[in-house]
């Protein structure tokens, strides 16, 4: 359940931006979650309302965009789509595919008042 900790980080960033960007209310939060990150989007959605209650983002909408998993096959050197961390190369079957995208989770943007 580290989704709750990550959502607390979201709230911290919202509070920092509220000060620097001069807003008092957040209407929408757009998160980008990597397909290969250890993040469960259902748990994020579940925790979002709980963590944002009684804050500047109470009742804010949550949008989650999934960043697809990409890796570079260490044998055929091609950029390939991978669904999970231990997926072999879909082109040549080689086991060693170095992840290039899809491990991160970030706040993309906000709609604020």
């Amino acid at each position: 359940m580290h989704e709750i900790s990550l959502l607390e980080n979201v709230l911290e960033i919202l509070l920092e931006y509220a000060e620097s960007q001069d807003f008092t209310q957040v209407k929408k939060v757009c998160l980008e979650v990597g397909q290969l990150s250890s993040i469960e989007t259902d748990a994020l959605r579940f925790g979002f309302d709980v963590v944002m209650k009684n804050t500047l983002a109470e009742n804010a909408e949550l949008e989650i965009i999934i960043a697809e998993g990409l890796g570079i096959c260490q044998q055929c050197k091609k950029m390939v789509n991978i669904q999970a961390l231990h997926d072999p190369c879909p082109l040549c079957g080689h086991a060693d595919v170095k992840v290039a995208q899809g491990m991160d989770m970030k706040i993309k943007d906000l709609i604020v008042i």
Binding site: I4, K27, K106, D109, I113
Partner: protein, 246 residues
């Protein structure tokens, strides 16, 4: 209701139109605006971890982050390790558990310094809490710092603490397919210790299959097999520590 901001005004635009407009508001919200953030949620933790790592390097402190399921033998491993190495090296331990001082007390009984962090509802240690612990503990230069994370094979994988290596323990009373079931942790770890090998005759755990699974997801992972309680093959582990501490 407006699907963008939940403001109660009717939303007449289609999703496609909204994307064309870059998620801008299309109706009357006074002062409503889009703020670009593009900020990684782990950036703050990673910045604290970087500070911890620089501190460890400056003071020649070899820091290890021990991770496993509950009950794999992390605390027992640390107690046994301290008893072997305490005459040669200064050793300190940070204990992470949701509740209680039990593990820190076990470590202190060996004579080593231990600080307990109770994470409360959190399922992992983070680099900020570890940074405070480092200051409170006044670590010695040229020492070993063992950080025993909360027993959990999922969440601690995402949080860098500034350690030199993550060491994952797996005991033979668990399933030999754990590397595939919890790949994030086995990808993050540099060393896998297979513990309780004295129990192999009584359990259905295939050591070579387990190692194959681990290397399938992390070809570079180093593996040692040992029994902490029977001291089987324990020297390979303490030799490895010594070679990193000198």
């Amino acid at each position: 209701m407006c699907a963008i901001c939940g403001c109660g005004q009717p939303d007449k635009t289609t999703t496609e139109q909204r994307h064309m407009q870059g998620h801008q508001h299309v109706h009357n919200h006074e002062n409503a605006r889009l703020v670009q953030v593009e900020k990684d949620l782990l950036a703050k933790n990673n910045a604290y971890a970087g500070k911890n790592r620089r501190y460890f390097q400056q003071h020649h402190i070899f820091a290890l982050n021990f991770v496993s399921s509950p009950g794999a033998g992390k605390t027992a491993l640390l107690v046994a390790t301290i008893n072997v190495l305490k005459k040669q090296f200064k050793i300190a331990v940070i204990e992470g558990d949701q509740q209680t001082e039990h593990d820190a007390k076990k470590i202190r009984a060996t004579g080593a310094t231990a600080l307990q962090i109770n994470t409360g509802k959190a399922c992992h240690l983070d680099a900020h809490a570890v940074g405070h612990a480092i200051i409170d503990m006044k670590l010695s230069d040229n020492s070993l710092l063992a950080i025993e994370n909360v027993g959990n094979l999922v969440c601690p994988s995402a949080f860098d603490l500034g350690e030199a290596h993550k060491v994952v323990l797996l005991s033979v009373t668990e399933g030999d397919d754990k590397p595939l079931k919890y790949p994030d942790m086995f990808v993050a770890a540099d060393l896998m210790l297979i513990n309780k090998i004295d129990l192999l005759p009584y359990v259905d755990f295939d050591v070579s299959r387990c190692i194959d699974y681990a290397r399938q997801i992390n070809p570079d992972i180093r593996v040692m097999q040992l029994s902490v309680t029977k001291a089987d093959n324990f020297q390979e582990w303490t030799d490895w520590l010594q070679s990193n501490l000198i």
